[in-house]
Point group: C2
Chain length 215, copies 2
């Protein structure tokens, strides 16, 4: 398969989410036109995106929703199951542990870890909070692929390095810092403060446009 | 000022974060080369990005960190203060309320709202949880600019529409659904499940590359 551009890949999870909703509503087939109206993108972009992967079936009859959902899932690696641990049992860590939707996609949160003695031993949706002392042993024994990092930024680099030394190859990073890790480690950042700055930029830009129009 | 591309704008919060860290460490001037090494982007990209805004000062002497930080802050709209409310006092809502870092950027969380009677009246970092019944009155009286939406997706579209009818023009949406709102409303999405799918895509793609090399 030829290399697919990052922008196309970035759009796939959104297609996957819409197709999942269609499936829930028992929709069997959908045309690129109908899908484009739902998703607020052009039908031609949808067809172009899907052509990167061979087109996913005949346009005249529309796409088979179930087939398309499975195929996009495979591209995203969702035909595998992943064991996920959460480092940091604070609010964000607990929120992730409580979010049962991840399991539907094949991401199984199997444990949380914290240094705080008052958290250790608690259960969140049945998932136990273990002490950080147990981290290495747990990773070795439990085939963990992904670690979510929900700890303060000061500790994040050192904990991330430990995770990698214990064999973790994918980190979902919520700490507001860039992790410098070996190339073979996949890092996906969720930088909330930066998301909020994008919001304020857009709000400001809209207000400026409006003022200009009024003048 | 000419229109700035979205990709440049998307990079600004990261520059802002790095410059804030430099300031904390009392760095007064920095060259594009030094900044590029820290941020792992090319010095020429930094210079090109900054040239969109007039260049921010002489290259030979490096950039004045404090000046650059303030100017990028202004572009991002961070020279204003914003009152922010959080709709949904669950784990994500509480995590946001507990995150004091947002205040440093000018985002003041002034109240949370929930329908759950057992949450109403609680305080999170001194910020009160109010009943959703009070939402309209509160927005009218308190000059609220931004609402964070941390409620289940089934209720999100209706609550978002109410927020807009009460005068909110910026929504930070954590519900896993696209909101269809009037054009004058700024929506910034944080779709966690989609972020996790990007992670699994990258993990899968890396593993496939490795397997290919081994063959």
């Amino acid at each position: 398969m030829k290399a697919i551009s990052a922008t196309v890949i970035n759009r796939l999870p959104r297609y996957y989410r819409y197709l999942g909703e269609l499936l829930e509503n028992d929709v069997i087939r959908i045309s690129s036109k109908e899908l484009s109206e739902k998703m607020n993108v052009t039908a031609s972009q949808i067809r172009q995106d899907f052509n990167n992967f061979g087109g996913f079936g005949q346009q005249g009859y529309g796409y088979n929703v179930s087939y398309l959902y499975k195929e996009i899932g495979k591209i995203l690696g969702l035909d595998n199951n992943y064991n996920v641990i959460i480092i940091g049992a604070g609010n964000i860590g607990q929120a992730l542990a409580n979010y049962s939707d991840f399991e539907r996609r094949g991401f199984y949160i199997t444990a949380l870890f914290d240094v705080n003695e008052s958290s250790v031993g608690k259960k969140i949706r049945g998932i136990e909070v273990l002490h950080m002392d147990k981290l290495e042993e747990y990773i070795m024994k439990n085939n963990v692929q992904i670690a979510a990092l929900t700890i303060p930024k000061a500790k994040a680099p050192q904990v991330a390095a430990s995770l990698v030394s214990f064999g973790i190859k994918a980190i979902w990073n919520f700490a507001p810092i860039d992790l410098h890790l070996p190339e073979f480690v996949t890092v996906q950042n969720v930088h909330l403060a930066e998301s909020l700055m994008q919001l304020s930029y857009n709000l400001k830009t809209y207000n400026e446009k409006k003022e200009k129009k009024l003048k």
